[in-house]
Symmetry: C2
Subunit: 148 residues, 2 copies
DNA sequence: CAGTTTATATAGAACGTGTATATAGTTGCT
DNA sequence: AGCAACTATATACACGTTCTATATAAACTG
């Protein structure tokens, strides 16, 4: 194993961004997905964490608050989420996933999995482990990049 | 090491898409990037492979030909690429990166690296190796998804 | 050489996203 | 209590992104 030079680390950054985005876009498109990846991530966040505010969602996904308002509007028009009054703060509304929203996310996951599965199945256990660990690491890295 | 159930593999697909897209978007935005990741990938493809046709670029990046025409138009307006006649086929034009285009890609890579480096530096060699291997695997997976 | 196919461009529509600003509600200080 | 500053969300506007459908021009085919 080569030890990591600063240049190696910097190349790795660019490759992760480039390949990560291409893979995500390709897998989503080829699964016939209509909705944006942000919209799907919003549903996923809400299911995992419970109701969240617009601002909180925007911050997590690194888009501006107006962009998140628009995303939530579209999801609400399609009945996938609801706005609910926040009892603690009348300025705020919390976003709540509906059953239809949960179903739509699940449907996406199944379509995506069906499309990607054949290719993952060809990989060895070691490569699958690499990808599983990488998914966690990428999530952590995104969190840290978001912090400041 | 757990052996991989079908469900585990399917979950992995969804996680890779979700985390991959979030990481790429976050890293790009937080680096103050203006240009789309697709535009950057176009520059990268051209530098790596030499001049390519619009249609070829569209196929590689899994967007439609009109969308790629628009992307190339914007890059051309900014002087980052040029259209050149394809001597072998007068219908087609090949896209060629200019020096300014190469410089812009390099600048993006430096900005992104500077932003991500501190977080990568905290990782151990094993995790860096995981990420490096994962970048390759994601690239291969995207290629394979693209094939059919 | 006429008909079909291919490569790119254009038109039109909807979504995604940013900046700037408006509106309404909350908090802190006196 | 009252006012100033702050905060959460919404709205307005502009531009980029991406799709489908179609037009245009060139190449291939029999």
């Amino acid at each position: 194993m080569v030890s990591w030079s600063p240049e190696g680390i910097d190349q790795l950054s660019a490759r992760l961004i480039s390949q990560g985005s291409r893979f995500a876009r390709t897998a989503s498109r080829k699964s016939g997905e209509q909705r944006s990846l942000i919209a799907l991530r919003v549903l996923s966040n809400l299911l995992q964490e419970g109701d969240l505010r617009i601002g909180e969602l925007a911050q997590r996904e690194t888009i501006t608050q107006p962009a998140m308002t628009a995303t939530v509007n579209r999801l609400e028009e399609d009945g996938l989420v609801e706005r609910r009054a926040d009892p603690a703060d009348a300025r705020a509304a919390v976003v709540h996933v509906t059953q239809a929203g949960a179903a739509e996310l699940e449907a996406f996951r199944m379509r995506a999995a069906a499309r990607v599965r054949p290719h993952l199945e060809r990989l060895g256990e070691d490569d699958l482990a690499v990808l599983a660990r990488a998914a966690d690491l990428l999530g952590d890295l995104a969190d840290r990049l978001n912090e400041r």
